[in-house]
């Protein structure tokens, strides 16, 4: 599903160049649930953003679902993002003037799904994350956990191949975190590929594989026995 070879990425900060990713080799098969761990500043988000085509790599190669991601213009990138990728952010990134339902329906709008069908599908995904009753509420009327579940529903709505979550539980208390993880595990159970950036051990252990980043390289990559979040809820 994801194949990354010898990936480098650096940021220019004035005259300084900050080499963030220094040769990443990394493959993810369909249906995997991978935790990316590492200390702050180790390049986790940078890696995830490149995988998510929100950011560009400097050198190396990246293939997503057999499609080499090179020299994409923004329009093409937008199409791929819409079709292949779903994002879940630490800070939710819901559009504040849109209701839960409208937020979930937004990726479908960019797929040119007709309004009626869009709303039906969005409601279906809101039901899946247990928020059907909150469809008409604005993000400001939702709790953190609820917001993240709306964001998950939104990421799912476009039926992407890969879900990318950057610290999805970072802004949540532990109980709510486990609820969100339970949801993500269920989504993975249905066969979706998940990449989860986290620096919490217990969250990482709820994935099936843990990749450790340090100073821009992978220092450890191991399969783990998945801890079911339902045990904690």
């Amino acid at each position: 599903m994801i194949a990354i070879k010898d990936l480098h990425k650096s940021y220019k900060m004035g005259s300084n160049v900050l080499h963030v990713l220094k040769g990443i080799n990394f493959n993810v098969e369909e249906g995997e649930m991978v935790a990316i761990m590492g200390s702050s500043g180790s390049g986790k988000s940078t890696l995830l953003n490149i995988v998510g085509m929100l950011d560009l790599l400097d050198t190396g190669s990246y293939t997503l679902d057999g499609v080499p991601i090179v020299n994409l213009n923004e329009t093409k990138a937008a199409k791929y993002r819409n079709k292949f990728l779903g994002f879940i952010f630490q800070s939710f990134n819901l559009i504040n003037y849109k209701t839960a339902l409208e937020n979930v329906a937004l990726p479908l709008y960019y797929q040119r799904v007709p309004k009626k069908e869009r709303d039906e599908k969005a409601l279906q995904y809101l039901t899946k994350v247990g928020l059907a009753n909150w469809a008409t509420h604005l993000p400001s009327e939702l709790s953190g956990g609820q917001k993240q579940r709306v964001a998950i529903a939104r990421a799912l709505a476009a039926q992407p191949k890969v879900l990318l979550a950057d610290e999805p539980t970072g802004a949540l208390d532990s109980t709510t975190s486990y609820e969100v993880m339970q949801l993500l595990q269920e989504i993975n159970d249905e066969g979706k590929t998940l990449l989860v950036v986290t620096h919490e051990e217990d969250i990482a252990n709820m994935c099936k594989r843990i990749v450790q980043l340090k100073d821009g390289i992978i220092i450890e990559d191991k399969k783990v026995n998945q801890v079911r979040a339902s045990e904690y809820v």
Binding site: T75, R81, Y110
Partner: protein, 409 residues
């Protein structure tokens, strides 16, 4: 791009972002309102200026006959040109488009007697329109009318000073004065701001004068007024056509400069025109200034609006929005708002001017107006620049990496 779905999305953002909508709309509305009001008031100022300084029927032309200075069509040099009544009717017939009114003037001097008092005055044969060209103000009685001209009545309208000289403290109305051995009934007394000379005049129907002078139809001057809406340029064209017409009619060589003379009051107005031009310049300057301020205002607001939306743009891009869809979203929104706001500003401005009307006459603002063409041009300029002002930052926002937009706080 123009699907109903798209518009729904735009209406939603407009509806749910009231402050933003209000700000950008308000700038446009206010800009136009100020523009139209200022320009209108400026025009009003010009109007009252014109009334003050160009008050003596500026649209008047005087036509004098002369002597030819070239032989032409078998005529000798030095032929005296004589205007006749048919010159009046021919001008009326040939220039209805230009002509407001026309009157002959036949100047005579004579002894005028009442009882034992007598004095020498000039008396003038005219038609009723002469009152307008001369701005004659009636103090009592009436001026000559068309019937007097037609019936060749022996009526006279005398100047204030004529009455004073001949009648002392008595009322002249209804009395008879003898002018060069003919008795005329005084039907009116006038005053004129042109000074003492003009108030020592007597007006009688030109037809009566012609009848008494051996029934000729000679006239010695023609005074006419062109329609004011022709403006200066129109008057020049009229003058040219009229000269050509009269030269042809009286068989004067086309390049003979002394056969007929036309004196156009508008020519004498040059100084006043210049002052009026300065006013126009100031008004235009202020107008353009307001427009520029409006354009800068809307540009700033668009930059602010898009800055505020950077994160949203990042989210939309992460969800699959193409740069094109981002730009069209922002543009459609801004054009829609500026269109509505421009419309409102346009009508509000015109409404304000209507409301002001003549209320500010004391402040030298007379009949403020703006011509619709200027108002609409200004509206279009603001809308256009509003769109352009939106386009530049929108394009920039659509081009930045989504991750940069997402990181924006």
């Amino acid at each position: 791009m123009f699907s109903s779905d798209n518009w729904q999305e735009i209406f939603q953002t407009i509806k749910k972002n009231k402050l933003r909508t209000f700000l950008s709309g308000f700038t446009i509305t206010l800009g136009l309102l100020i523009f139209i009001t200022l320009l209108g008031l400026g025009n009003g100022l010009k109007n009252s200026f014109n009334q003050f300084f160009m008050d003596d029927a500026t649209n008047t032309m005087f036509i004098f006959p002369g002597r030819t200075s070239m032989p032409y069509k078998g005529y000798n040099v030095n032929r005296t040109i004589q205007f006749k009544n048919d010159d009046l009717t021919d001008i009326q017939k040939n220039f209805p488009f230009y002509l407001e009114y026309i009157t002959p003037r036949i100047f005579r001097n004579g002894t005028v007697t009442f009882n034992n008092e007598s004095n020498s005055y000039s008396y003038v044969g005219v038609s009723p329109a002469h009152q307008i060209s001369e701005k004659t103000i009636m103090m009592k009685g009436r001026y000559l009318n068309d019937l007097d001209v037609k019936e060749k009545t022996k009526y006279a309208v005398i100047g204030r000073l004529v009455e004073k000289d001949l009648f002392k403290d008595r009322n002249a109305l209804g009395e008879h004065v003898i002018i060069n051995n003919t008795a005329y009934k005084v039907i009116g007394v006038f005053q004129d701001e042109g000074g003492d000379n003009e108030e020592r005049r007597i007006y009688i129907p030109y037809t009566t004068l012609q009848l008494i002078e051996k029934n000729t139809d000679d006239i010695n001057q023609i005074v006419l007024a062109y329609k004011p809406e022709l403006g200066y340029a129109g008057a020049m064209i009229f003058e040219e056509k009229l000269t050509k017409f009269l030269k042809e009619k009286h068989e004067i060589a086309p390049d003979d400069q002394s056969g007929v003379f036309i004196r156009n009051i508008a020519d004498n107005m040059n100084d006043n025109q210049q002052l009026s031009g300065v006013l126009t310049l100031i008004v235009t300057f202020v107008g353009i200034g307001t427009l520029i301020a409006g354009v800068i205002g809307i540009s700033n607001i668009m930059v602010f609006v898009i800055k505020e939306r950077t994160k949203e743009i990042g989210v939309r891009k992460a969800l699959g929005a193409t740069p094109f869809s981002i730009i069209t979203m922002i543009l459609q929104e801004s054009i829609f708002i500026t269109l509505i706001a421009g419309y409102v500003g346009l009508f509000l401005g015109i409404f304000v001017l209507k409301m002001i009307g003549d209320k500010l006459e004391d402040y030298f603002i007379l009949n403020p107006y703006i011509d619709l063409g200027t108002a609409i041009t200004a509206t279009i300029i603001l809308i256009l620049f509003g769109a352009l002002a939106g386009y530049v930052p929108a394009k920039r926002a659509a081009k930045i990496q989504p991750i940069v937009a997402l990181r924006d706080e």
